[in-house]
Symmetry: C2
Amino acid sequence: MADLKVTFLKVYSVLKKELLEDPAFEWTDDSRQWVERLQAYFLVLDDIMDNSHTRRGQPCWFRVPKVGLIAANDGVLLRNHIPRILRKHFRDKAYYVDLLDLFNEVEFQTASGQMIDLITTIEGEKDLSKYTLSLHRRIVQYKTAYYSFYLSVACALVMSGEKLDNHIDVKNILVDMGIYFQVQDDYLDCFGAPETIGKIGTDIEDFKCSWLVVKALEHSNEEQKKVLYENYGKPDPANVTKVKALYNELNLQVVFEEYESKSYEKLITSIEAHPSKAVQAVLKSFLVKEE
Amino acid sequence: MADLKVTFLKVYSVLKKELLEDPAFEWTDDSRQWVERLQAYFLVLDDIMDNSHTRRGQPCWFRVPKVGLIAANDGVLLRNHIPRILRKHFRDKAYYVDLLDLFNEVEFQTASGQMIDLITTIEGEKDLSKYTLSLHRRIVQYKTAYYSFYLSVACALVMSGEKLDNHIDVKNILVDMGIYFQVQDDYLDCFGAPETIGKIGTDIEDFKCSWLVVKALEHSNEEQKKVLYENYGKPDPANVTKVKALYNELNLQVVFEEYESKSYEKLITSIEAHPSKAVQAVLKSFLVKEE
Ligand SMILES: [Mg+2]
Ligand SMILES: [Mg+2]
Ligand SMILES: [Mg+2]
Ligand SMILES: [Mg+2]
Ligand SMILES: [Mg+2]
Ligand SMILES: [Mg+2]
């Protein structure tokens, strides 16, 4: 572990710096920013498939006049730039092929997660009885956690000469972290102010397998369950209002706050159990709250 | 070249055979079939972006009920299987990383070609005066020729230990071949029977930079040009009829037949100039007419 401790943070910052110098990308000094750049491809396609309206307070790319469904190809072009950047900077390194494998694997995991997410919300296939914590976890793990949490750290590990098979613990922590952040995202979709979250949440209308509906089903009696089955996933604001009223009745805000602080403590404990202080620092940097 | 001559055809058939054994794919013994499998990703997305109705006589994937725009993710999943197959079969080979680079490069070329194609047909950007033989060539070269003609042969070259930089002549022939086939495709879109080509052509309605409209512009006097400018790219069948009448007036069928036989001869000549008989055989196999 001595090696890793020394090289990990160094490599992590070298990776960031080299990518920063690529004129095709505008990196900022914020480590979340470069993760977000890699997300662009997935988000552009996701907004098309979810028929979304806004993304970070702006119209989704495919909603921009003269773009439309060409956005699908623009997404692919964004994706094609990842191996081009990697090739430009790292073609001669021993780990180059492992980086390519990593990106390919993570892309496949993400697309698989998207698939599970999408097929649960198809008209005619909607079934609330399938919405459990384990389905929620599977969707989030695949469609979000690997690319937005695991990928950047795995890159740094690969580039510091580590075999990813030796770092399953790091992977597990990052997956748990992805789930922790997605639960917050699910919560804010309903309870966050649109000005703060930069969009109008539509998880209820869209029949999303949100952490909130899973918890609501878990805490509901038969009568309350009936309210959910009758109102979840309908576009009419009257239905949405009934679902939100039930969420309040079930005190989901309190359930969330308890989940949030418990998960945070658990994550900190797992991170501090890691033998490398450098790895601990990288993992903790992900936990810093936004704003 | 002695090496190449021996290994080329062997590797080509090994590649096909190994991929044939992958249960994820249903390969037939037809070499065009495996090329088509790799095309699936591009075609699924292309049909969405072109708002097409049918593909090979069947509804486009995104038009199938319960699929819709989820098709975009299905396309990505098809694409994700390419590196998975390559990894499964070739991870330990010295050429593995070159195969990955090749696929990434060709995907980027294809998406770039799609982009040029798509931005010429955006509402508000349509401009017939841009439709020249050189634009037609650029679009076809990037969006079609690399992935459907160059890629499979380049794979075989890489796997036989060749450096692609030493085979620019093969690449050029394959690009020319791609253009030759696309001109036929453009021709059939207008003059082919829907039962034969498996779809109803809409290049005229879609304002496509087809070889036919390029040739029509080339052979038109001012009055005929006016007919094109007034009727090309409009959905109304009356406009389409006028364009087709002009194509007939300009004898484009004859112009096409001349182009076709001249191009065929030129391709055969370039192929026969290649020093390797094995490479000649592979290249000629692409020229066999369908049906
Ligand atoms: Mg979405
Ligand atoms: Mg989505
Ligand atoms: Mg959300
Ligand atoms: Mg098309
Ligand atoms: Mg197209
Ligand atoms: Mg066509």
